[in-house]
């Protein structure tokens, strides 16, 4: 097993052609005509090298829901999609609301080795929305938690939200809000609008998202803290965010790949793979989200990767679980929805899928870009490829992908995490090899 890789002839996000040498875990050299003794060579002619992707919103399901996903399988999905770091949402069982659980997740990620697992802590005990979790203990733990979220549930109580925003100021934390007014979305099954009225499915009105975002940007302004909005899905939310940013409020926002590509018309099939929360919205929302990502109103793309067992999707719409797997397809979907439309270039992609999510998540070991001396997190992508996306492209446990059978552009050819390969020739490296590399790297660091 080599410690050195030479990626030759890759295009950097800005289009510059270069060779890249990864050695001892770091990006050691950039330039043309490089050679490195004993290096494994990756011919990247015609391929794009991106900084390792960072996902601020992943559901790894472990501990508690290992039939859906584990830290190992979830990070394998991440690597297959070109991600080198994932932020693990707190809705596990037990909930990640104590230092013990977040440290366990961190350790599982370190052992698996496919990607850096940065735990997100719950805002409230048990995600119940009643009592603040031990945010300070999680922040001071070995997991160094800075992002807190009750994702899956909205921190609805305005007093609790205000206190959470205030409290995390002491360690530069951020509250990531799942913006969903619960009373307006009781029993909601899909976006409320023309299609829901016709199909007779209970609606999830845009205002249920927008009203919470409006409230929370004002709370963040009032207490001078920072707020992150998860999975923004409506044109109205974009307007509120644009207003808040113009006002100087410290708010950031993410959009999922699926909200950039898919719309509510798909629900007419009653195919539960299209059931997700927040729901797929109107075409005009999709277009507004693309524009917002392009103009910076929305800061990043985050997957909301949500694996479910087959039986939770292979059923009638009402009974189906919300959520889609997204790590493996994210880069291709971003490519299809905003790169091919000319709204984002590869530099922008590196920003919205690597440097900004790392900055918002307050991790410094990722998102530094492809510069000499940076940790060796690199994704090699073939932008000219095109593939009928299928279950063979899924590396996690979940097959609840809305893209199965669709043709998507691009393909991840190689992924390097901390200087070792997790994906080569478009194939995941074996678990024991990756775990071994990760162990060596940990040992070298000590």
């Amino acid at each position: 097993m080599t410690n050195t890789y030479l990626i030759s002839g890759a295009a950097l996000p800005d289009g510059t052609r270069t060779d890249i040498v990864l050695r001892d875990g770091v990006l050691a050299e950039l330039g043309t005509g490089l050679s490195a003794a004993g290096a494994q060579r990756i011919d990247a002619d015609g391929l794009v090298a991106l900084p390792g992707l960072v996902d601020l919103h992943t559901h790894l399901r472990e501990p508690g829901y290992e039939q859906s996903e584990t830290v190992l399988t979830g990070t394998q999905a991440a690597a297959a999609g070109g991600f080198t770091a994932v932020f693990a949402m707190a809705n596990t069982s037990p909930v990640a609301d104590t230092a013990g659980v977040v440290e366990q997740e961190l350790s599982l990620g370190e052992q698996a080795g496919y990607a850096t697992v940065q735990p997100i802590g719950a805002v409230t005990v048990g995600l119940a929305g009643e009592q603040l979790a031990e945010l300070g203990a999680m922040a001071s733990s070995r997991a160094r938690v800075r992002v807190f979220s009750d994702d899956g549930a909205c921190v609805w109580d305005p007093v609790l939200m205000r206190r959470a925003l205030e409290y995390v100021k002491s360690f530069d934390g951020v509250i990531a809000q799942h913006a969903q007014e619960p009373r307006l979305t009781v029993g909601a099954q899909m976006n409320e609008g023309a299609v829901s009225g016709e199909l007779g499915l209970t609606g999830w009105p845009a205002v249920a998202e927008e009203s919470i975002i409006a409230r929370d940007v004002l709370l963040a302004e009032h207490v001078g803290s920072s707020l992150h909005i998860c999975h923004v899905s409506t044109a109205g939310s974009v307007d509120v965010l644009r207003w808040a940013k113009a006002r100087g409020i410290r708010v950031t926002a993410e959009v999922t790949p699926h909200h950039l590509l898919l719309d509510e018309e798909l629900v007419r099939s009653f195919d539960a793979r299209y059931k997700v929360n927040p729901p797929l919205r109107r075409r005009e929302d999709v277009l507004a989200l693309r524009e917002a990502l392009a103009d910076g109103t929305i800061d990043i793309v985050a997957t909301d990767h949500a694996p479910h067992p087959v039986e939770n999707k292979d059923c009638e719409w009402d009974a189906a679980a919300n959520g889609m797997v997204g790590l493996e397809s994210a880069l291709s979907v971003v490519h299809a929805s905003v790169v091919q439309t000319g709204q984002l270039n590869w530099t922008d992609v590196a920003r919205v899928l690597s440097s900004e999510p790392a900055r918002i998540g307050r991790i410094t070991s990722h998102g530094q870009g492809l510069v000499v001396g940076a940790p060796g997190h690199v994704t090699v992508y073939d932008p000219s490829a095109s593939r009928a996306f299928g279950t063979a492209d899924l590396a996690g446990k979940g097959v609840n992908s809305p893209y199965l059978g669709r043709t998507l552009p691009g393909r991840v050819i190689a992924t390097f995490h901390s200087g070792f390969a997790t994906v080569l020739d478009g194939q995941l490296r074996p678990a024991d090899e990756v775990a071994g590399s990760a162990e060596q790297r940990m040992a070298a660091r000590v």
Partner: protein
């Protein structure tokens, strides 16, 4: 006809054909021996995930009069709480050799899921799904209107030139949705009357006029007034203040009944809340077709089962 899942995807030709077959079925029901041998050897499963005695016995009567074997499968409560999935239930019915499945389900789209899943080969007949569609109810309503208006000359006719006003809880009504698509496909003009809380937020794509004022809608002189059942418990979710106010503003009471032209057809899909959405006088008046609707329901369901199970089963 492979399945009957909705009226939205019925074109006028197939709708009229189904109504004409129902006329033939109705004729046979005038005979002393009502039973036909048509579906002998076929198995029809009534798969009911919701209580509905009326619809179930109507389908049961229709199947039996066509000599099909009928199996009643009532799975109360949702499939999840019951512990068996819709998929497993469907595969069980497939293994038993069901030729047609008549399904009533609280989840919108469940019949479509059954029809497109590949779990079962049987023809699927939607007997009401969530708040989505109830196609045989709309077909029997159209049949009843056509019969009242055209009598024995009904065959081959559509509903051109007729105006139908549907009153009540449109938001939660699968009957309203199926009637909107079918009646307009057949050429009728449809007006929906309801409190604004009980109309879907975006109905711009619906081929109807929406009104919040029942008196104004009735003053326009519709040919048909169809009252929908209102659930009193809706007031708990603030859809309207209470049943008395609902009744005053959106009920067909005696005063409104007397202002109607006596040729107006008054319909109700049942079961009725007498004194709430419809007065006893309206329900029992000669203008009312409530009992005819029940009779015609059997003929229309015979026609649907016949078209589903005899002849070619192409898409």
């Amino acid at each position: 006809m492979r399945h009957l899942l909705s009226t939205r995807d019925l074109d006028q030709e197939s709708a009229v054909r189904l109504l004409d077959v129902a006329e033939d079925m109705a004729d046979t029901q005038q005979r002393e021996v009502k039973k036909l041998p048509t579906l002998r050897g076929k198995t029809v499963v009534n798969l009911f995930f919701e209580d509905s005695t009326r619809t179930r016995i109507s389908f049961e009567a229709a199947s039996k009069r066509l000599s099909a074997d009928v199996i009643n499968f009532s799975a109360k409560g949702s499939s999840v709480s019951k512990g068996e999935s819709l998929k497993d239930t469907a595969q069980t019915l497939q293994a038993m050799g069901a030729d047609a499945v008549v399904i009533r389900h609280p989840a919108s789209g469940a019949p479509q899921t059954l029809a497109t899943s590949g779990w079962i080969d049987a023809g699927i007949l939607n007997a009401g799904d969530g708040t989505h569609e109830h196609p045989t109810q709309a077909l029997l309503d159209a049949f009843t209107i056509r019969k009242r208006v055209h009598g024995i000359a009904s065959r081959g006719r559509n509903l051109d030139g007729l105006s139908v006003t549907i009153v009540g809880d449109i938001l939660h009504s699968r009957v309203a949705r199926s009637n909107v698509w079918l009646l307009t496909t057949l050429g009728a003009t449809v007006t929906l009357v309801a409190p604004p809380t009980l109309v879907p937020v975006d109905t711009r794509a619906w081929p109807v006029t929406i009104s919040y004022d029942l008196d104004e809608a009735l003053a326009a002189g519709p040919d048909v007034v169809m009252m929908l059942r209102i659930q009193g418990e809706r007031m708990r979710d603030a859809f309207f203040p209470n049943s008395r106010e609902y009744s005053r503003r959106w009920g067909l009471d005696d005063g409104r009944l007397h202002r109607l032209d006596p040729t107006t057809i008054v319909m109700h899909p049942g079961p009725m809340n007498r004194g709430l959405e419809i007065s006893a006088a309206a329900a029992d008046s000669p203008m009312s077709t409530v009992r005819e609707q029940v009779t015609n329901g059997v003929s229309v369901r015979m026609a649907a089962l016949y078209l589903l199970l005899s002849g070619d089963r192409e898409n």
